[in-house]
């Protein structure tokens, strides 16, 4: 009995990273992780979702001779100047050729990469689980500078007006000079919980959600708090700002619409399952995706359901959707790719093996 019980327990193994990279649309192709630990380019003009290239190829190796095994990919690929940039759970930042998927360069960080890379003015910014923000030359991968925070960085850095804003699991938000890496604020802003939500900047106000169940508005110039809103669970999604409203999904299963000026609640809508995916706008429909793969089409004005019933993808979804006009592309856990249109119709684009 003892051995049976423990075998049953042991066989379940340890927690395995799956990855939740969202898709990125570039012209007629979608760059997405369609298998665990794999990046691929898919031809969306082709009705069967033809795969143009996959990464890594068998026996592709790192400069040190080790076999490339991204393990899992959480980082939504970013494309600039025909190069695809993404970080992987193996700690490497990869730069691939958009046309062929060949490696342009690769760089090892000290821990898994969970957030997305940002490319601006030929510079790549990426955070790592080792607590560092890496700033690199986009063409060569040469390091320009790096900045150490007190804990893992699982968010995407925000670069605006020569300042890099980075939120860390050490509960702090840092404002750094994009050229030198010098701190711009007198001291970093400190929240009460780790920060896993990528910040967003609107009219001099930085909005960031946290694992202390709060979404906060900070003065981008000084880091002073303007207002905060408390929910019942953590905020992990990047908020979406439209006009004077902030929309944020929460792990309590609700989506909140707040006034960007004072943080007052405008409306809330319960989806029944945690929301990790960022809200996106399909023209005039606010698309909310929860972990159960239920898609809600809401009216951004009052939060009322535009679609009478949620669309059920019957997959776990934790990735951020990519919106393109009236269509959104959604990556489910495991790699299946879906499209959903603003009239509430979903279609399976790529089914993984």
């Amino acid at each position: 009995m003892l051995s049976t019980l423990f075998l049953a327990t042991a066989c379940t193994g340890i927690a395995r990273p799956e990855g939740w990279a969202g898709p990125t649309l570039v012209d007629d192709r979608l760059v997405a992780s369609i298998e665990r630990g794999e990046m691929a380019a898919v031809d969306i003009q082709d009705s069967s979702g033809r795969v143009l290239w996959r990464f890594p190829l068998k026996d592709q190796r790192h400069p040190d001779g080790g076999k490339i095994n991204p393990e899992a990919i959480y980082s939504t690929p970013v494309v600039a100047d025909s190069i695809v940039y993404f970080g992987a759970y193996d700690g490497w930042l990869y730069a691939l050729d958009l046309a062929s998927g060949d490696i342009r360069w690769q760089l090892k960080t000290g821990g898994p990469i969970v957030g997305n890379a940002v490319v601006q003015d030929n510079v790549v910014y990426v955070g790592s689980d080792d607590g560092h923000l890496y700033v690199l030359d986009a063409a060569s991968g040469q390091e320009r500078w790096r900045f150490k925070t007190g804990d893992a960085i699982w968010t995407t850095p925000l670069v605006a007006d020569g300042v890099v804003y980075v939120a860390s699991m050490d509960k702090k938000v840092y404002a750094l000079d994009a050229d030198s890496g010098e701190e711009r604020w007198d001291k970093p802003f400190k929240a009460k919980g780790g920060l896993a939500s990528t910040p967003v900047l609107v009219d001099g106000t930085l909005l960031v959600g946290g694992l202390d169940s709060r979404i906060r508005a900070l003065d981008a110039a000084s880091g002073e708090e303007k207002w905060q809103f408390k929910a019942d669970d953590w905020f992990w999604t990047q908020p979406l700002v439209l006009a004077d409203s902030v929309y944020a999904g929460c792990l309590d299963g609700k989506v909140y619409a707040l006034d960007v000026n004072d943080g007052n609640l405008k409306w809330e809508q319960d989806t029944g399952a945690p929301v990790r995916s960022a809200p996106v706008l399909l023209e005039d429909v606010l698309l909310i995706v929860n972990r159960k793969g239920e898609l809600y089409g809401l009216d951004p004005q009052d939060g009322q359901l535009v679609w009478p019933l949620p669309i059920e993808l019957a997959r776990t979804v934790l990735s951020d959707p990519q919106a393109q006009g009236a269509t959104a592309y959604i990556s489910a856990q495991g790699g299946d790719l879906f499209t959903v249109s603003k009239d509430g119709r979903a279609k399976l684009l790529v089914l993984t093996d």
């Binding site: 003892l2 327990t9 927690a15 969970v114 896993a196 669970d233 792990l251 972990r291």
Partner: protein, 297 residues
């Protein structure tokens, strides 16, 4: 499953996070303190197990007499049960504390997977388990590193597996009553090695936080045995040395002469000398006797 989560997994998860906060974000220390608390909580059961084990040990000579006296298994069983009743011993008393700990182990395993799983998915899973108290929420993310280990991953250095093996062995050696029956002793000896090996193997498969729990739990078990029995009753040299080959078997051979099988073989008439079967029986008999002689030396 909902009830199981509600009663076991969620409270353990939250208790671990609270302990983590109290001990300045050191999750390894939180697991150790949790283990000590669990062992204190189940101490009455453990003491009962030790008492039962000691009583069973004391009954061994009388049980051996019963085995000699009653050849009919049913009658022997009845008399054994009668003996247990008279002595006020519950043979299942040794098993109960272990059974009580099973749900805790399994729940702790699940709780560890949730708390120090380390993957972004497991952190999201953790949010669904934590009570909505600011004090708890502020603890996230938890520090996975403790000494040389990542508590959310198996310890591949083998150090923890060795500690778990050694501590399980010592505890097992102390807790196993001395059996005079050769069959029981043979089973005990097998278990003495099997259990530590099994736990060491599991330590290599599960998050090392669980291995820390097992090692700590064993060490406390040994300490409890030490304090309940007193130092004079424990011969550490005997405990730490591997058991010699079936001493009771040897004793039994000395006392009883040939085993029942050997007796049976000896009593069989060797009539068909020329038949193959007869030769085989003779060989078996000779082999048995010579083995018996070797044992007597």
């Amino acid at each position: 499953m909902f009830l199981w989560d509600l009663i076991f997994i969620n409270p353990i998860t939250n208790a671990l996070v609270i302990l983590n906060n109290i001990f300045l974000g050191n999750f390894g220390v939180a697991i150790i303190v949790f283990t000590i608390s669990m062992r204190l909580l189940t101490m009455p059961l453990t003491l009962r197990q030790i008492r039962s084990s000691r009583s069973l040990s004391g009954l061994q000579p009388r049980m051996q007499e019963l085995q000699k006296k009653y050849k009919d298994p049913k009658r022997r069983q009845e008399e054994t049960m009668k003996l247990y009743r008279e002595a006020g011993v519950n043979p299942l008393g040794c098993l109960l504390p272990m059974l009580v700990q099973f749900p805790i182990w399994i729940a702790l395993y699940r709780a560890l997977r949730i708390t120090v799983g380390g993957t972004p998915e497991s952190v999201i899973g953790l949010s669904q388990r934590l009570y909505p108290w600011g004090y708890i929420e502020q603890a996230v993310p938890l520090e996975n590193n403790f000494l040389w280990m990542d508590l959310g991953q198996p310890d591949t250095s083998l150090i923890l597996a060795f500690i778990v093996f050694a501590s399980t062995y010592v505890q097992q050696r102390l807790a196993t009553p001395t059996a005079t029956d050769p069959r029981t002793q043979s089973t005990n000896q097998m278990m003495l090695w099997m259990m530590p090996l099994m736990f060491a193997f599991f330590t290599l498969q599960v998050p090392s936080g669980l291995g820390v729990y097992w090692a700590m739990s064993n060490i406390i078990g040994v300490a409890m045995y030490y304090f309940t029995h007193g130092p004079e009753r424990i011969n550490w040299r005997t405990v730490l040395m591997p058991p010699s080959a079936a001493p009771a078997d040897r004793q039994a051979s000395r006392r009883e002469g040939p085993s029942p099988k050997e007796k049976e073989a000896a009593e069989e008439p060797v009539e068909a000398d020329q038949s193959t079967e007869g030769k085989r029986k003779k060989k078996r008999l000779r082999h048995g006797r010579s083995r018996g002689k070797r044992k007597d030396r």
